[in-house]
Structure formats: structure tokens, C-alpha cells
């Protein structure tokens, strides 16, 4: 997967209760939950561990 522009964003009602990742993967903007059973998040973790991807933290 080609992962670009990965950033954590806050979400949840009423406000900002948990994080998810917003990223462009293979050209499409996706909103990815922090669930290791999710294949996109699994790949993000692999690329972060390999040092080929960094996720911009919440400002």
C-alpha cells in the first residue's frame, strides 16, 4: 500500500474522545480506526515500525 499524508485526527461525540488516522492510501482518502484487525491499520503499523512512515500527531 502506498500511504501518504497520514495524520491522527480526533473524533467522537460529544467531542474528541478518541483518535483515528486520516491518510491517503493508493490515492484515496481513508479514515482508519486504531484496530489491529483492520488491514489498513495493520499495514500502517508495519510501515511505522519499518521507519518508512510517520503519522503526524494531533496539533
Amino acid at each position: 500500500m502506498k500511504i501518504e499524508n497520514a495524520e491522527y485526527i480526533l473524533c467522537g461525540y460529544p467531542e474528541n474522545q478518541w483518535k483515528q488516522v486520516r491518510a491517503t492510501i493508493d490515492g484515496e482518502e481513508l479514515f482508519i480506526p486504531l484496530d489491529e484487525n483492520n488491514r489498513h491499520y495493520e499495514e500502517i503499523l508495519k510501515q511505522v515500525e519499518a521507519g518508512t512512515l510517520t503519522i503526524k500527531d494531533v496539533e
Binding site: 500500500m1 502506498k2 485526527i9 473524533c11 467522537g12 461525540y13 460529544p14 467531542e15 483515528q20 486520516r22 493508493d26 484515496e28 482518502e29 481513508l30 479514515f31 482508519i32 480506526p33 484496530d35 489491529e36 484487525n37 483492520n38 488491514r39 489498513h40 491499520y41
Partner: protein, 375 residues
């Protein structure tokens, strides 16, 4: 009118034991391609990377492989005037190779078609025990090409994460003619699967569309640790400009007996596929409850894992009033506080909503939304 009668009312256990298990035996989903939320029965042009060409069915090709060919896929059927299908089938997958660069897919590249079967569903094979069962794969195939093609199985072992591979082949004898093929994959009595009784990949069934030589091997009769999902010397579909390949009725069942394809109702197959992928039209009122954002109401789902949410790239997201379109502040989020958020247990629940961040004035959203929890 006469009614037929059961000629025998008492059966010996040994007689019943010889009857193949006829219920819910296909480990694969959407084997007859009746469901295509992914591509909506439209022609799809293959690109580099991993992509679903129909519900549950995935193509993977690396960049160097995909640079050597152009090809399309499409779930076709009688409704398209393409009614040439095996009896009883209404849909199938068509692959058309529309161009080649003049060079074959490189040795170190991959191009394959596959379905990843969930661990829950492969438990019945009892891999890693003395009772491990064979897996019989059957399917209808038609191609402009003839010869030996590759089909392989792969799974991951629990303690070492070692991947085990079994390479098989099938032969297309006559060009442009539907043939039913069967391949039996021996059980593995030694190596326990990683995802036993869990979600995660229990087994991958792979059709070789263009695996390079490095990732190909001869047919094997035992499980191998060397990575290979292609057939050495086999026909590599995607290297052949103008070639076509059609398939339907793919079934994988425990045991070494091929049985008739297990037809499921359209509604049942759709429900199964929606455990992995949902295309929904999200249309909901929004509120702000005194906060900075506008929150759309949640839409409830149940899926294999917490899904990735996104806007259908073929559509536009709207916020009202004002009909603001495709604002980067309009994001989607999944709330999964049930089982799927906690573990690999699967079969949990959650909800998805759209939110307009930093603006509390919106009252209504609509957006075609994709939820993807496939393996």
C-alpha cells in the same frame, strides 16, 4: 397425481457417513460473483497494489508487474447480454488482457488473484492435528488460452509466524469452452494455524495470473516454507495480450470430494459479503449539542472488524444548508465500542457518522460511504 415415496426409511450409520456433507460447505464467499458492491458490475482497470475486483475477491500486483500489461475485470452476467455461463449461474468474473509492454512480468514480481478465508471458517480443516482434512477446490473456467495454470494455498503458523505454501495446477484443455476443474489440497497435520478460532487470515487461496519465476514452483504434494504462489512453467495469463479468462462457481470444501456448487440466496450472499464491505448511502440529519462540530446521526452496522470508512470516490459529499461539497473538514468516523473494537473476536457492531469539524451550523449530510473490513 402420484407422489414419490422414500423407498427406505432406516439407514445404517455407515451408509449415512458415506453421504457428503451437503450443508454450508463452501468456505469461500461470493464464489459465483453474484455480489459486486465493490465495482457495481462495471469494468475495472487493474492498477498496481492490492484491490478488490468483486466482493471478497482481491487482485494483487506490484508496480513492476503492472507496468508490463493493461487488463480489466468485470463481473458479467446474462443481463449484460453475456449469457454464456455454466447452467444455473447468473454471474461470473471476466478478465481481459488489453495490452502488454512486450516484456513478461519480471521474475521478482507478483500478479495474483485471491480470496483470504477468515480463521473462523478454516477451523473445520483441523490443520495442525492428526485429523487435518483435505481441501477440495472446484470451479468453472473458460479462457482463450490453454495449458497448465497455477493455483495455490497459503497459511501462517501460530508460534513462528512461518507461512506454509502448497502449489497445485489445473489444466484448461479447450480454448473458449467452460470446463469444471477440481484441485485437492492435502491437509497439514503438523502446523497449527495462527488464526485458529479468530478473525484474521486462516487460509489464502490464490490463482496465478502472472507470478514471476522467483515466486513460482513446481506442483508440490507437501506444505513448503519457501514463498511461492505461482506455477513454474505455467500459463501466465497477464503476459498474453488479447487473452481472456472467465471464472465462476468457485468452491472450497473440506474433504477430497467435489460436490455440486453450493448456491446461496442473493440476500444471504449479500449479508455475508457485508460482513467485510458495505456500500451505503449515508443521509442523515446533523446536530451540534452546543459543541464546535456538526454531528451526523450514526448508521449502525455489524462487520468482521472495525472498518475503514471513506467517501465513495465516484461521488461527492454534501453538507447542508448551503450544499457545501467535498470540504476537507467533513470527515467520517466509526464508533465501535463493542466486540470488534476490543479484540479479534469479530462479529461486533458499531456505527458510522459524518462530522463537519469546526462548524456547528450544518443540519444535514449526505455521502455515499464505504465501510471496508475485509482481510
Amino acid at each position: 397425481m402420484t407422489r414419490s415415496r422414500v423407498s427406505k426409511q432406516n439407514y445404517l450409520h455407515s451408509e449415512l457417513a458415506s453421504v457428503p456433507n451437503q450443508g454450508r460447505r463452501n468456505l469461500l464467499h461470493n464464489g459465483d460473483f453474484k455480489i459486486d458492491q465493490r465495482r457495481q458490475y462495471n469494468t475495472y482497470t487493474i492498477v498496481a497494489g492490492s484491490q478488490f475486483v468483486a466482493d471478497r475477491w482481491n487482485f494483487y500486483g506490484d508496480t513492476n508487474a503492472v507496468n508490463t500489461f493493461t487488463a480489466t475485470t468485470r463481473v458479467f452476467g446474462a443481463q449484460d447480454g453475456e449469457g454464456d455461463l455454466p447452467p444455473g449461474f447468473s454471474k461470473g468474473l471476466k478478465v481481459a488482457v488489453t495490452g502488454t509492454s512486450g516484456s513478461d512480468i519480471p521474475a521478482g514480481s507478483e500478479a495474483l488473484f485471491r480470496q483470504k478465508i477468515e480463521g473462523f471458517d478454516t477451523d473445520r480443516l483441523a490443520y495442525g492435528t492428526s485429523s487435518a482434512k483435505d481441501l477440495t477446490v472446484s470451479f468453472y473456467v473458460k479462457s482463450s488460452l490453454t495449458g497448465n495454470f497455477g493455483l495455490a494455498a497459503e497459511y501462517e503458523e501460530v508460534t513462528t509466524n512461518q507461512k506454509y505454501h502448497m502449489q497445485k495446477s489445473y489444466t484448461i484443455n479447450s480454448a473458449n469452452t467452460w470446463e469444471r476443474k477440481t484441485v485437492t489440497i492435502p491437509g497439514n497435520t503438523t502446523n497449527v494455524p495462527k488464526y485458529k478460532a479468530r478473525t484474521g487470515v486462516g487460509l489464502i487461496l490464490t490463482f496465478d495470473w502472472g507470478q514471476g519465476a522467483t515466486y513460482s514452483s513446481a506442483v508440490t504434494s507437501s506444505w513448503q516454507t519457501t514463498y511461492s504462489n505461482g506455477l513454474t512453467g505455467g500459463v501466465k495469463l497477464l503476459n498474453n495480450n488479447g487473452a481472456t479468462w472467465y471464472i465462476t462457481g468457485i468452491q472450497a470444501e473440506a474433504g477430497n470430494t467435489m460436490t455440486d456448487f453450493e448456491f446461496r440466496s442473493h440476500a444471504e450472499e449479500l449479508k455475508i459479503c457485508q460482513n467485510y464491505f458495505i456500500l451505503m448511502y449515508y443521509s442523515a440529519t446533523a446536530h451540534n449539542a452546543g459543541y464546535n462540530n456538526s454531528y451526523g446521526n450514526g448508521r449502525v452496522f455489524s462487520m468482521r472488524a472495525t472498518p475503514t470508512a471513506s467517501l465513495d470516490p465516484a461521488s461527492t459529499k454534501h453538507a447542508y444548508p448551503g450544499n457545501v461539497q467535498n470540504s476537507s473538514n467533513m470527515v467520517t468516523e466509526v464508533n465501535a465500542e463493542g466486540a470488534i473494537a476490543r479484540s479479534g473476536l469479530g462479529s461486533g457492531f458499531g456505527s458510522v457518522r459524518w462530522v463537519f469539524q469546526g462548524n456547528s451550523s450544518y443540519q444535514y449530510f449526505d455521502a455515499r460511504t464505504l465501510l471496508d473490513a475485509d482481510l
